[in-house]
Symmetry: C2
Subunit: 146 residues, 2 copies
């Protein structure tokens, strides 16, 4: 299990929207040196999502899953599979709590084996999480300034 | 994480069918003293499933989730939520390996917290798993004899 928490200086509805609107999601998701193209993003119970991240050399990395329950600011629950390691599925949930205009996000990933968890960490997850958090912070500031 | 393995004296296609055909599933799933009614069972990527188990006193227990990927004998991957404890979602996968006409089923449940895992064990999971395994063994024997 991996737990990530981060506070954003924005109301929770906006943080939630940045997680579910494909046009916003593609602007912050992932490491800075990859571009993200959203293939599907059906934000509803059973809806499928898929995106592809591409690096400067043109290498493409696909990810997909389905939503469990209708996503809401209370919780986004989804499965997650990296297409480079098919069959290794994890369960992710994100919750958003607002306090004095700021939003605390808590994201939990549950894996089907310790090896799967360790492989996720070894894949460069830390850089992706770090960059994503920074990029989302910047995007939320721009959205609130405009 | 909870891992359950059980061998069935039946070919894997039949064991898989017993896991995905609602008419068969309702005949073996759960403890012997509960009856199972299948509400939805959409066996496809993103398909929703739901069933309700009822005891002799009329108490009803609902469960639901969605399938990740198209279920096949190689793997059934699904989310799982007991409606009596909303928000506590786990990820389940079942794989089926055939050896000399018998089928080894391996079922893995991944939880989002140790507390969720312990609550599942404390809920009487062991009796449900035990009875389900016995009832499925009996059903597979009847299906092959008929």
């Amino acid at each position: 299990m991996i737990v990530i928490t981060r506070e954003f200086d924005a109301p929770r509805d906006l943080v939630f929207r940045a997680h579910t609107d494909p046009d916003l999601l593609m602007r912050w998701l992932g490491p800075r040196d990859l571009s993200t193209a959203i293939d599907r993003y059906e934000v509803r119970n059973g809806g499928a999502w898929r995106y592809v991240q591409t690096d400067a050399e043109g290498n493409a990395y696909g990810f997909h899953g389905v939503f469990h329950g209708d996503p809401s600011p209370d919780a986004i629950v989804q499965t997650f599979e990296f297409e480079g390691a098919p069959g290794h599925v994890c369960l992710q949930s994100a919750t958003f709590a607002e306090r004095s205009g700021k939003t605390l996000m808590r994201a939990v990933s549950a894996f089907q084996s310790v090896e799967d968890r360790d492989a996720m960490v070894a894949s460069g997850m830390e850089r992706g999480v770090h960059d994503s958090g920074e990029r989302l912070t910047e995007l939320l500031a721009r959205l609130q300034a405009s």
